[in-house]
Symmetry: C2
Subunit: 331 residues, 2 copies
Amino acid sequence: MTNRASLQDIADQLGITKMTVSRYFRSPEKVAPATREKIAQAVKHSGYIHNRAPALMSRALSRTIGVVIPSLSNQVFSALVDGIETITNAESFDILLAHSGYDPKVEERKIEMLLSYQVDGMILCETEHTDRSRAMLKQAGIPVVECMELPEAPIDMVVGLDHKAAAFNAVTRMIASNKQHIVYLAARLDRRTMLRQQGYEQAMWEAGLTPQTVATPFQSSFSQGMKLLQQALDTFDRVDGIFCTNDDLAVGAMQFCKNEGIRVPDDLAVMGYNGLDIGLTMQPKLTSVVTPRQAIGIKSARLLIDVINGKAPSDKLFDLGFSYTAGESLS
Amino acid sequence: MTNRASLQDIADQLGITKMTVSRYFRSPEKVAPATREKIAQAVKHSGYIHNRAPALMSRALSRTIGVVIPSLSNQVFSALVDGIETITNAESFDILLAHSGYDPKVEERKIEMLLSYQVDGMILCETEHTDRSRAMLKQAGIPVVECMELPEAPIDMVVGLDHKAAAFNAVTRMIASNKQHIVYLAARLDRRTMLRQQGYEQAMWEAGLTPQTVATPFQSSFSQGMKLLQQALDTFDRVDGIFCTNDDLAVGAMQFCKNEGIRVPDDLAVMGYNGLDIGLTMQPKLTSVVTPRQAIGIKSARLLIDVINGKAPSDKLFDLGFSYTAGESLS
DNA sequence: AACACCTATGTTACACGTAACATTTTGTTG
DNA sequence: CAACAAAATGTTACGTGTAACATAGGTGTT
């Protein structure tokens, strides 16, 4: 393997010290124009690539943030990361990205890896963590933002929304549109799914209705949505609405309706969750709870970088709320 | 900020040297059981987190691979990364993940960042790179795998499939099912879309048929699929089949058929591309070209790690081919 | 001319895990 | 128990960008 060029190589070549070359990269205005020009040439010629290992060794900031998302194929998290990068790009921070597959054990491994790179802060998208994850983050002494949810035992700061309240509001809305036999469609029984179920159940009980749920432990998908609706229709006497734990299930269910000639929303009201683009391409458009994930990303990164820069946060918990898509699958 | 515990801290505490503690982590069997136990206690108590910065400074392997994917919300790449991690986990390599948003300029920045962490190898999912990207990778002297496609000017190694051949095969299959007036539906006119068009056209010419294309520069989506099929039917006298550049378009087109009472496949055969889950929720199920993305991930990582470990690769280019979903939208 | 001040560059020390080699301790065998 | 092998631990040096401080040379002011 070719040895990579170092600052020293460039400096030797020009008869100067590596300190000047280092300055050239980080604050060129402190280097004399003539020297700057010489260095520029030499850098171009040698193809120097910055090596951040030595900087990581000093106790200086790495200007890097670790981000752990649960899944790589979910628009929710891609929008979240977009939001984060809006801020990190502007502040010239880098992000180091990892994914956990919704598994706290995997998350632990990824947190360990990111910490080993001396990240200055961490954004986590889940609220369930192993004890070791919590201990490592504490020991690392860096600011942490948990986002998407409002955890019961926050590590540090939180930016998210109340999924139980959102679900409650959504189901109450369905009931208000004159649906009474609303079934909850759930997949991958994680914490957020449970929270939404709680909101759903509370809304049903408060309206004097009986909650009924069909669930699968599998990852949610369009085809799971079809299967779950089928199952709901097979299981329960009457079904005139479904509250889906996410838009994948909802779209799959609407597809099922199309195939089976079930009219939406007349025969069956459909409420999704997340407000993905795909819902708006359906006929009728899917009504869905919109989670402000880009805003969550922006706020999370903003908050984290401010704290890294020594500012005291105005608060430790930010609830960014929710809204609805302009859908027609409800009434 | 609390100073993180170092190996030295643990060693001091036990009256041994940090070298022994270092050994405890990397080859515990070389440490006496009694010492091992003592260290384990101290480590647990201090909450030590490994710091890889010093190791990155030596010329030793970082046991880390950089991966750049175009998008964080595409099942194709999530499956690819899954495949990669199958291997990296087994070989105790870490991956550093970045995404480029399909933009070579952004890819360049991400490549630079990953190289600054001294990754031992790089997996890229696109074949268009800036000159600087190529120069940096060359200078870094690490093995590189480009995956998904078979580029004309490979940087180093390639694991992918021939999209032109796949398209040719798919269209030939449509023709064999007695369709003659097949239209190509294209969106976001990137390289892969073009390659598929070439395959389509070749298949048509070879069968003595005339290729006909409708295209949009916009990002593909369900609604684009609907619009494009509408446009095709308006533009051409007879249409009895469509070859869609991806499943989004195909699903949109099939929905259009459902709305308009066009029978699939009797009136119109539909062929998709990628074999995503949603295609299987359609009625009839969408027939689609399946790209072996998990296998591509596995092969890419296997190859890269072998080369990192000093093995000479048996070949520099691996075409993993394609298959079809068990769909019913063809005949 | 003396002084303060600025700009450009240099000098020194440091961060900390690990490879390579050295030394000590323990175990084994004739 | 001497002699040697093996196991366990220690010693030394290294990599490379950067903070902090030092110095050289130049400019301007009184």
